[in-house]
Symmetry: D2
Subunit: 221 residues, 4 copies
């Protein structure tokens, strides 16, 4: 995973790896989290859209095919519009609305359309866990591992990873299934996560691992 090699010196990596970076390992009952792959972030006609969202969406679509086939739980997040300043909170963004001709920015992209059995957690803060029922949904499904995907790597994805780790859920981040607008923020988020909070792997390895789980993994409630 060389993305972060451009930013972290070999000496720093050696120092860090002396105590950190042990493999966390995966459990047997994963859920797929799809964080904010809505028009607002996945379409660059919107103010906060990522310029090249396609590879990330494709990677998530492949994960979705596998986890649905295995009967594993999937939870999406989407933004919730603010009706007043308290609901908007303290974001340092312009809050500029998209062009009026564009459809709802909080709509999940059509390629990843949720099924009725899959929950969409509406949120106004970075972490998918903050002020939402995500932790309760994962407990309901008996989940021990989360595969965290979506946008943007250094923002809502990273905040969700830190909270999942804090909840004692194992964390897997398929490298191709997350995206950001800032190259260094993306690379360092993956570096920090892989050092301390979860395992960053190529998509192909995550798909291979999922296949080993067989049909039993889906036998939750």
């Amino acid at each position: 995973m060389p993305a972060w090699d451009a930013y972290v010196t070999p000496a720093e990596q050696a120092l860090a790896r002396r105590e950190w970076g042990r493999p966390q390992g995966t459990g047997t009952r994963p859920a797929l989290l799809v964080v904010d792959v809505t028009r607002a972030f996945a379409d660059d006609r919107y103010p906060l859209g990522c310029p090249h969202p396609r590879p990330c969406i494709d990677a998530i679509r492949r994960l979705l095919e596998t986890v649905r086939r295995l009967g594993l739980p999937v939870v999406y997040t989407s933004g919730l519009p603010a009706r007043n300043p308290a609901e908007r909170g303290l974001w340092k963004s312009s809050g500029r609305p998209p062009a009026p001709s564009l459809p709802d920015p909080n709509q999940i992209v059509p390629e990843l359309e949720p099924l009725p059995t899959e929950s969409v957690v509406r949120k106004r803060r970075p972490s998918a866990f903050f002020g939402t029922e995500l932790a309760s949904l994962l407990t309901y499904h008996g989940v021990d591992t989360v595969i965290v995907t979506g946008m943007v790597t250094s923002g809502c994805v990273r905040a969700t990873v830190v909270d999942a780790f804090s909840h004692n859920l194992r964390v897997v981040v398929p490298e191709e299934a997350v995206a950001d607008r800032i190259a260094a923020s993306h690379a360092i988020a993956l570096f920090d996560i892989h050092l301390k909070y979860g395992d960053v792997h190529p998509l192909s390895e995550v798909l291979t691992w999922l296949e080993t789980l067989g049909g039993d993994a889906g036998a939750g409630r």
Copy 2:
């Protein structure tokens, strides 16, 4: 604040700043948070110690003098030893204990010794808010702004900043009062925070702002 200029290209900064980076501004009732400035992180004889902790400790000491004089609340965090694997959780660190001759790794460094009126929140996860009563303590004190300091910038400091922002507390990070072992992780944490979640300022500006609050700011409960 040029720390992140080495990592983020001018074009990316321009893209980011088109929608992000508005000043958040400060409230009138701040608290000082001192995150994990314990021997474990502030003394490099310990496995996870930062190599050059002195400037950060000095900066926090100066902040502490000011906020104590103004009667503002201070909350520290410190680690809580794990008695069993569930309490240790899923950290990807070696968990190697310090040399037996060294004193308690979770002791706050003597220069920053807490007063009895100041709370020390014990924690086992990155954010000072996660699984602790920090939010309740800040509500008790009527706080609207947190000055986040300590170690390490990309770890517990950043996670605490994201949660403080999510709780609708304004966030101020005095640049000299946070430290990390990895230069890029430190710089990018400050970049991401300053773009979205809070205001990163030089220590001198934070001290100047605090003096403008006068004695009234401390008139909480």
Copy 3:
């Protein structure tokens, strides 16, 4: 407040009051919480409707007039329909839908229609704080006290009171502004709250107290 005298013996009250029941007192910046005064609970044509909701709705309407005039924050809660079993969770209720001819059960009753500046927190669990952004909204508004009203006293009202208390918010319950279907559950909820977690007062006293706050109380953000 004799509602609980029918249930708790004088000897028990004496024992309890030796250590408990000190006045908690009020702060200077209250918010009004209106819990679940939706058709589902306030109209007995719905499966879980309270049989005599009118006095409770009238009491809340009077509180609403006063707090709106004073510019104080108001937050409502309303149920959120479950799309799948995980969202429904483990409620021991039948989950029987209302008659198809009836309007949306999660609509707040028309007499208490929220203004656009007032937030409606959607929830699926008893406490208005659980899995919601209520705590963040109250922090935004700089609130130190919550006036908890709505339905039902022993369920969502009580759970909200316990969480508000735990967040270090002072709790005021105007006795006429809460309702339940079970007389003993209602009376004991008020007894337990008044003993430990907050102050139960007649509506008239709460209205009198609010008037003492003057216009300044509303001068939040």
Copy 4:
């Protein structure tokens, strides 16, 4: 379970049971929670001690023998002394200290001494989940059901039950394993819980159910 028959009329019970009181049922991976069975609550020489704690302690001891033999997780709670008013919070109790000759009020009673593998969560608020890492510990252990025991039924036990339910954990309350100082508060807490949030059963039935789980239930991480 006739404890609540003295308080709730047959007509009210019939009304309530039309929509509520469906069996919740148990999962396959329970944990035992022992809430606040410390000297402070289990010894009436302390200000808040229950007058007749013995049957409750004996019932928990029997549960403990069984769950330990089966290798199931156990988590205790204990109070955490307050060093300042913010830590004490807004409790309406006198806060009167016990006689100086008495041992630490927050010590768990000797009959229920925790093993090193069993966690003790220190708390200052009613619910064992509030401001603690309890939810994370239960996730680590892969728990789907909690057996909630301890003191007092209408206070910390009830608050813990409501939060466990909200986290989507199934709740079992063995009737003999909870205690309170107020008969009506005890009975109504059990009534409200059994109606909505969990299943109240005689201890004998809980022990019989546990034996059916066999050794596999303990095969968590």
